[in-house]
Amino acid sequence: MSTSPSAAPAQGQAWDFSDVTRSNDSLRRFLHGLPGVDQVGADSRAASLGTRSIKTTAKAYALDLAIRMVDLTTLEGQDTHGKVRALAAKAMRPDPADPTCPAAAAVCVYPDMVGVAKEVLGDSGVHVAAVATAFPSGRAALDIKLADTRDAVEAGADEIDMVIDRGAFLSGHYLQVFEEIVAVKEACVRPDGHSAHLKVIFETGELQTYDNVRRVSWLAMMAGGHFIKTSTGKVQPAATLPVTMIMLEAVRDFREATGQMVGVKPAGGIRTAKDAIKYLVVVNEVAGPDWLDPDWFRFGASTLLNELLMQRTKMTTGRYSGPDYFTVD
């Protein structure tokens, strides 16, 4: 399954992408030079990893880890300040009945809600992530996307989830996509020099092929994304196990080549605790245990958290729990 790109330099050697990203043609040559993905093989490997049985103490560990990895998300037109405040409170104390329950990783909201979320979260350690760059379609002029990003960063967002221009990517304007990511990354820098983490959303449901997923992963990593994220959650199919596996292969190979670690975030469509555990198995088997950490792997989800909490309660009390005992959102 190793997929080191043919152009990769010897391990340990500093990787300089300036050659690759010199022009659209060179970038295209590099991305299309990546080995193709065997779709049937990828599907079946992801399916076989999904059959692992995770029980008892391993399951308890996986559930807590998954809770710590959740980016609790609300991205609706009907979001109110009250809902964002409630969500932020939930991210800090997902299960108020059980003080041993860990906090979620972050709250993910639209840029105008960042201040509201920040107010509640304070220095609790739960991050605020904001979707920017004309989420979810990404169809806006670059300066609007950058202004959107700066607004969110100024309001105190710790993480920016940007969407790529899928139209440009699909029509082969790779350099345009690359430069946009670079520009957004620059817009993530705060006046004090610290920088908000950048997650790059691919919307893999619109990218048609697994080859494209691998290409766009490399493109985003070369452009300096801290995280690569599958989807906005607004398009079906959203995150799937094989797509996430291909992205995990990409970050693994990228670290082999450059020494830099990039995080992965599947988002949308992960609803059950069992699904979440399948993802964790794939993370461990494909990328390695280094990625089993909220700094390197996240779930973009809303309903998933309650499912994880119900399973957690089942493990601690020995009886099945129900949705009546957890907040609705």
């Binding site: 020995g318 009886r319 099945y320 729990s321 129900g322 949705p323 009546d324 005992y325």
Partner: protein, 289 residues
Amino acid sequence: MSRIDVRKTYKLFIGGAFPRSESGYSYQVHDTKGAFVANAALASRKDARDAVVAARKAFGGWSGKTAYNRAQILYRIAELMEDRRPQLVQALRQSEGLTAARAERALDDAIDRLVWYAGWADKLTQVIGNANPVAGPYFNLSTPEPTGVVAVLAPQESSLLGLVSAIAPVIVTGNTVVVISSFERPLPAVTFAEILATSDVPGGVVNILTGSAATIAPWLASHMDVNAIDLVGIAGDTELATSLEVAAADNLKRVRRAPAAEPDWSADPGLDAMTAFVETKTVWHPMGV
């Protein structure tokens, strides 16, 4: 040339579909003379869990239907039972060892019972609801509302009349149900599930598990998302009934207690089986303007 026997293995009925047991187990079902009849799925606690999820999902739609509509749907089940008469008669003869005539009569009773309960759908509120007299310019109305997801342990002896008498009063008021059928006599329940699947009952309103009540019921009794449990089916098993009542206390489930012996199902059932699984909702409503 002699035919090869078709040895059937029946499945569970969960959420309107017929899945195999998650455990992969099945068990042999014998007739009253000890001859092999078929295999039935042996439900596990995870099947019970899935059934509760399906029942919860179906609850909103089923309880939201008009009482009149629920009555129509119950009548429809009775119609389909008529259509499947030979199959049900045979199942009754095999499981309960009845003669053909007595099996026909038992089936008549079961169908009549269903029709009787169907009629109650839009009448129960008039009988147990009330317009309360209050000293103010208000209407004060008490109406029965369904309790929610109800776990039913079906009678062990009366495999069809008992089953129908346990399920119908629960669903007619808008509850959804997870049933554990008779362990020794599951086949009428399996046929009943096939009838439900082809009737107008929405998937998940009735979920039928074949298997051992002693194994599965504790999980349902302690399940925080089950609102009530009917223990009449384990009549006589005081020890199990007590432990289930204790487990049910955690989320204040409504419990219909197990009698000392299985009741005579052919007797007039009265309203108890329906009123055990409704909640009285009282609303104040301003009167006049």
